[in-house]
């Protein structure tokens, strides 16, 4: 009977008749099935309650492969974001604590949401970096506008902007609180706790800095 084809409607769609569920005597009398269901509920209740009271619950992240359900009880428990997830931005620092950013505007140009605003400024006369690079007088990211695509990170030639803080942009009360200024962005450490990057850089004025051709001629 289950293989019997029937025509349904004007378009002659063929379908298969689904067999009626097999209702055995135990299903019909209802009580054994109720008892079975109650048994399952109680089993889970006792097991979970015991583990919760005695603090033996599986860690939902590091011991999540154990049998049974492993719920993350948010917000008491939070699953850390994976290493490559894109969280709130940070501006990396040089060894002297100044921003790595050279205000080239690559990130703000690449940003599809246009949420990055940079005001570039020249280093003062006599600074070894003057003439080679500029610095951001203001560096503002509107985290409400940001779509967390990571293009700014890819565009940056100096590894100055990163999204590896592992911080979820928190729901604040007002729009102003989502406007992250330079000092805020420089204040976030990376997941490893460092404000620096792993990429080495030759600073202007250091002996290893290749300099520009115009200095040699």
């Amino acid at each position: 009977m289950s293989n019997q084809s029937t025509t349904l409607g004007p378009n002659k769609v063929t379908g298969v008749t689904v067999a009626r569920p097999n209702r055995t005597a135990s299903v019909q009398t209802y009580i054994p099935e109720v008892a079975k269901g109650l048994g399952i509920t109680m089993k889970h209740f006792f097991q979970n309650t015991k583990e919760m009271v005695f603090g033996q619950r599986n860690d939902p992240v590091t011991e999540g492969i154990e049998d049974g359900i492993n719920c993350v009880s948010y917000p008491e428990q939070k699953r850390p974001y994976p290493a490559r997830s894109r969280g709130v931005h940070r501006l990396t620092q040089r060894d002297d604590g100044s921003p790595r950013c050279v205000a080239c505007l690559c990130c703000s140009t690449a940003c599809p949401a246009q949420c990055i605003h940079i005001e570039a400024a020249e280093y003062p006369e006599g600074d070894p970096r003057r003439g080679y690079e500029r610095f951001p007088q203001r560096f503002v990211i509107d985290e409400l506008r940001c779509i967390f695509c990571g293009f700014c990170v890819e565009a940056c030639p100096c590894d100055a902007i990163r999204m590896d803080t592992g911080i979820h942009a928190a729901p604040y009360d007002s729009r102003e609180q989502f406007i992250f200024e330079k000092d805020v962005l420089m204040g976030f450490p990376g997941r490893d706790g460092s404000h620096l990057t792993a990429n080495p850089r030759h600073e202007p004025g250091e002996g290893s800095h290749p300099g520009l051709d115009r200095d040699k001629h």
Partner: protein, 593 residues
């Protein structure tokens, strides 16, 4: 009967105790219901209410009761010199209690050590014993050893020495283990700046109760204001007062001792000793109509729901009220008819005499098994709870008859439902599970016997038996409440026609058949003569043995289940797991008690 001042004060006290019991259990159930649902799904549930108390106060709370227990034991041992014939049972009691508290303390601390690791030399020693289950098995062995040594040597030449050792040693063990456990708990929290009192989350219902009192009491403009305000009380009151006819313990006798007074509570009462003077019945009112009072008042609850639905001037409320009225009327019929069988067997309408019958014969669940299931189903339907929550059916008619209620009035409907759960559980445990009766525990002590064969006998003080009985009644009631909550988390809601079909076409004929079959069997036993009666009492003894063995087995299995060690594997397969492991695990959400 003249109403003296003492009798009146006792009546007020008993009513207070029963009302407080019903209301507190109901309030706790409102919370436990949500909490259990969360637990089943491995969530934490409502657990965030916490009262922070200073460490010193927490230490005092830990040590204070222990000191009180020690003082009480010391007083009994030093001041209340027992008659020599009762020294044996006193020694038995104290040695068993001492062993119980010793292994209990050991298992609790061992479990703690297993979770948080070894912190001191005692922990290290306890940990070296291995699996905490060994402590429990050792404790069980000690229980049986003390029992058999006491029984075997009580009448021998070493009798006095054994009794003295059991008496003094048991009391000493009890004092030491209680003191040690309390001091251990006090010292282990010594370094913490403050201690969070969560009571397993029990502060949450208290916070909820406070919240409902201060919420706005909204009455719809077109509602009948008087009836709208009256309805919650009509539905709340009957649910509460039906507990009055249910006895929560055996009669306390004060007049049996030589001098009467408090000392007589520690003596043994004769087995069929029904005292009439200086006795306190642990029952609020002693009505000769008993069960009829229950049905009369439980039926009044319908009016509250129907009135709320009508007075709210809301079509959903009206639908809910009509549904509630029809459902409760339908299932009331089944409830009444199922108990007819029980009344035929017990031959009385008084609940205390029903319990008396059950303690002399067998529990009602063995005598009237079908009636128990029918009554259970009908009482779940009567309390309008899932799977019979059609009157409120939130997916169909918003919230049914209490749609237009807020704040405390809404809470009163809510509590009325839960109090109905408690009272029906209390009635069921009284009629079908023997109330305060525990197998083989009679007024004068423990008598384990099957037919004519006596296996074990132990006289016990009167107060201990009454207290154990009352505790048993509370436990049975809570178990039945818990079972009703479990049903709520297991079954989906019935459709309205399914509900009516179940009530009128299945439960009602089944309850009528139950009455018929019970009548035939009762007549057969009455006509059968003494031989049949003797056989039936033998069967009754076997049911008692079954209950006792199942209870002890279940208890042992439960403890073993609790202290079973847990082995876990860490798997750092993902970078987020590595981050979590580096942070010392995801911040734990545990139900800290």
């Amino acid at each position: 009967m003249t109403l003296t001042l003492v009798a009146f004060l006792l009546f007020v006290l008993k009513a207070f105790v029963v009302v407080m019991f019903a209301m507190n259990v109901a309030v706790i159930l409102t919370w436990a219901d949500r909490r259990q649902g969360a637990m089943i799904q491995d969530r934490v549930g409502p657990n965030r209410a916490v009262a922070w108390i200073p460490t010193k106060v927490a230490q005092a709370i830990a040590v204070g009761p222990a000191l009180a227990v020690i003082a009480a034991v010391g007083f009994v041992v030093l001041k209340l010199e027992p008659p020599s014939e009762e020294l044996g049972q006193r020694a038995m009691l104290f040695s068993q209690l001492g062993i119980l508290f010793t292994w209990l303390t050991g298992v609790v601390i061992a479990g703690k050590v297993q979770n948080r690791g070894v912190t001191n030399s005692f922990d290290a020693w306890l940990y070296s014993l291995g699996d905490p289950r060994r402590i429990f098995y050792g404790g069980l062995f000690a229980h049986f050893l003390a029992l058999f040594v006491g029984l075997a040597l009580n009448d021998s030449a070493f009798g006095p020495q054994v009794r003295a050792i059991g008496y003094g040693g048991g009391a000493g063990l009890l004092i030491l283990s209680v003191l040690f456990g309390a001091l251990y708990a006090a010292i282990s929290i010594n370094d913490e700046p403050r201690v969070g009192l969560r009571l397993a989350g029990l502060l949450h219902p208290a916070a909820d109760g406070l919240k409902t009192i201060f919420k706005e009491d909204f009455i719809p403009p077109n509602a009948d204001k008087f009836l709208h305000s009256l309805a919650p009380f009509i539905s709340f009151f009957p649910a509460l007062v039906v507990m009055a006819v249910i006895p929560f313990g055996d009669t306390l006798c004060f007049s049996l001792g030589k001098d009467g007074g408090l000392g007589s509570l520690l003596t043994t009462v004769p087995r069929d000793g029904v005292c009439t003077e200086a006795a306190i019945r642990l029952q609020v009112v002693d009505l000769n109509v008993g069960l009829l009072y229950f049905f009369a008042l439980a039926g009044t609850g319908i009016v509250g729901a129907a009135l709320a639905g009508w007075a709210s001037d809301n079509k959903y409320s009206l639908l809910g009220g009509v549904r509630a009225a029809s459902q409760m009327v339908s299932y009331e019929v089944t409830m009444g008819l199922t108990l007819v069988g029980a009344v035929m067997v017990y031959g009385t309408l008084r609940v205390d005499q029903m319990i008396e019958w059950q303690s002399q014969n067998a529990w009602g669940i063995f005598v009237q098994p079908a009636a128990f299931f029918l009554f259970f189903t009908a009482s779940v339907a009567e309390s309008k709870r899932i799977p019979f929550d059609i009157p409120e059916g939130e997916s169909e008619i918003v919230a049914g008859y209490f749609t237009e209620y807020a704040g405390m009035k809404f809470a009163m409907f809510f509590f009325a439902e839960y109090i109905a759960v408690v009272t029906s559980a209390g009635l069921m445990s009284a009629i079908f599970l023997g109330g305060w009766d525990l197998p083989f525990l009679y007024r004068d002590g423990l008598h384990v016997s099957i037919g004519e064969t006596v296996i074990f006998e132990q006289a016990l003080p009167h107060l201990a038996i009454v207290l154990i009985g009352a505790l048993g009644f509370v436990l049975k009631t809570l178990t039945l409440c818990w079972l009703q909550l479990m049903i709520r988390w297991t079954l989906p809601r019935f459709r309205y026609d399914q509900l009516m079909r179940l009530g009128w076409r299945k439960l009602l004929p089944a309850s009528l058949a139950n009455v018929l079959i019970t009548g035939v069997i009762v007549m057969a036993i009455v006509q059968g003569g003494p031989a049949v009666g003797k056989f039936m009492s033998l069967v009754a003894d076997y049911t008692k043995a079954f209950v006792a063995l199942a209870g002890i087995g279940g208890f042992i299995y439960f403890i073993v289940f609790l202290v079973k060690p847990v082995h876990k594997r860490k798997s750092l397969a993902s970078s987020s797991a590595e981050f979590a492991a580096a942070a010392g695990g995801t911040r734990s959400a545990r139900m800290s008690a």
